[in-house]
Amino acid sequence: MRDHLTVDGLTVRDTARPGAPLLDGVALDVAPGEFVALVGGSGSGKTMTAMSVLGLLPQGLAVSGGSIRLGETELTTAGHAELDRIRGGRIGMLFQQPKRMFNPNRRIGRHLREPLKLHAGLRGTAAQRKAIELLAEVGFEDPAAGARSFPHQLSGGMAQRAMAALALAGRPDFLLADEPTSALDKVLERQILQLLDQERRDRGLGILYITHNLASVAAFADRVLVMEQGRLVESGPTREVLAQPKSPYTRSLLEASILQPHGTSSARNGVHAEPEAALSLRGVSKSFAPRRKARAAVDGVSLELRKGEILGVLGQSGSGKSTLARLVLGLERADAGTVAIAGTGTAHTASMCRAVQLVFQEPYDSFDPRMTLRSSLEAPLRQSPLSNEEREGRIRAAVVEVGLDPALLDHRPRQCSGGQLQRATIARALLLEPQVLICDEATSALDALTQRTILDLLRRLQRERGLSLVMITHDMDVVRYMCQRVAVMYQGSLVELADTGTFFSAPQHEHSRALVEASIPCKGLHLGRLVSAAD
């Protein structure tokens, strides 16, 4: 019988801070050829569990109890040399941001030769041949070219495939995958999952797959473990957990990960989109390398955003979505075309800048870590001739409007959660009374529960203030949940613009079809139905 990876009663503490442990009695077992999903909100201890297994806990944290065994080997007490052999050799690891895990100065092939040398003893041309073989195995169409390329030349999906090749190079028995697809769109997520599934079938790879999105792994996982605040709150076969979640936390995670569509038509949404345009783009183009024959980042996009409308902008990373947003915001200057906002001219003036506001993807990066939230929120009001009391009043009102406690205003960003900061970003935008709010992947860094609350907040603001929203996202569920119309960007061009209902039932463009197909839960598991049955 082959070895199992067994974690028993694992407890991890912060050595500097006595008190409640960060991980409390976590127990799990991964058999060869098994696909186990470890699910939980951010901060629930999923990543910490994986890091404990590999002996890679950050400084200051230590395993204070329990055991981690790989077959007969105890990993909590293993020495450096032994752990080095195990990492990569017997347990591989996939990370969330593959590009950050590659050395930008080294070609992919050279990255791959390293584990091949360490764990398989291959050198020179033999190693290079094997590296190319591995790349072919993970789905590179031209593996030889892939091996020659540098990390920055790969797309996000390809980089994650290369990472998978790297993790599998040492022929490990187990793979720890820490949100490897959270930053990818659904099509790529599906491909990576299929790739891992294939490895598990072919050679009995045991997989521990960490994610905050229960629905995305439902089709592949044999078992699901749910973590909350450092403890396992539920475990069982996938079907059982999905059909009859025992803990309320699992249930809320599940509900949050399945966004029921009810924003598909304006009638259903209770708001009649006015035909008047809040924002209109005419033939907008932008290219970043004018001298080379590079493809334009945004290529002749014409688009109209109606007042009070929620428009979804879909597209792969690099398709020009974010550049389009930056052009509208006046952060970049268009090479050609015009951007017009209702009530203002076409020039990029300060007043125009204020009428369109932005919510960023990364909540912790959108605030200066040195400033309190109050100082950050005061910044946009500095030009206005308000008295201190009026200013404070406005800030409080905005903070309350987005559902934050005004006491948080005296906190610094790192004392707040991602969800709180995202609310604060929205409050900061609202202070300027914008007409249009652009959300650039505003919820993709958040766990499913928080994502849901932020989306609901945005819907409420759209209803109450008559805001027009642009949701830039790769998450089809967000689009289905929020948007009335969908625009699809592909290689800098707008390839499709349709009502959400029409888009999902009859996508026109080839790329749209791929996006829609990948977003449908497979293997006959229709999650929505399962949950409503459980209710």
Binding site: L329, L331, A350, C353, R354, Q357, L358, F360, E362, D365, S366, F367, D368, P369, R370, M371, S375, S376, A379, P380, R382, Q383, R414, Q415, T425, R428, A429, L431, L432
Partner: protein
Amino acid sequence: MCNVRTRITADRAALAVLAVVVLAVAAAPWIAPYAPEAQDLARRLAPPGPEHWLGTDHLGRDLLSRLLDGGRFSMLMAVAATVLTAVLGTAVGVASARRRGWLDEFLTRSNDVLLALPEMVVALFIVAAMGTGFGPLLIALTVTGWTPFARLARTLAYDVSARGFVEAARVVGCPPSFIVFRHILPHLAAPMLGQATLRFGQLLISVGALSYLGLGVQPPQSDWGSMLAAAQPYAERAPMGIIAPGLAIFLVALCVTLIGQHATAAARTKQEAVAHA
């Protein structure tokens, strides 16, 4: 990396020594046993003793009094040059990073050119052209001294400018001055301070070197460098004339550098804590 306790002890000792030296030098007119120019030709090149603690020089002047008096010029010069170069360098670096384009290109290339020229040779040239004294010497040290600050400030300002909160500030319509003063400079402060303390030590030595070469203060005023130069011919008969000012330069430079390293390390730790929290 040496262990934490040694480091903290070293820092405290450095701070204590520096405090004593600064106080003594500042209070020189009141605590010095003799006037720095008072000659006692009967007691030339006297060894250390109860009357003259460090002995006397070739004109019979009290070495301790001259050491205290000379420290004022050396340290004041080094402080002034450090502050001036730090402010100038930071301004140039931030301007480069914010304006980009031809200005950045021009400032960076000028920086490279100045880095290629030996600091001492440029200083010699300027002093030769402008004459000696506090002003010309300060200019001589500043002309090349700003370059390390500008390099550091430019790199850091580039990094901070790329952060999301700077973009966020632009989106809500904050003027560039607000972004520079409220977002960028506070993030630069700690590393620039660390750099400044490291540079202070080097500048103190440069001041000494220029004075040693006769390009700094002119007699009868003295500083540590010129004292060294004056005592050199009598090194065998009265070694204290060299040891005392040499040791003073060495000690102050060492103390400030140690404190600077500690400050830089502390700032880095704090920034990491902010980044990881």
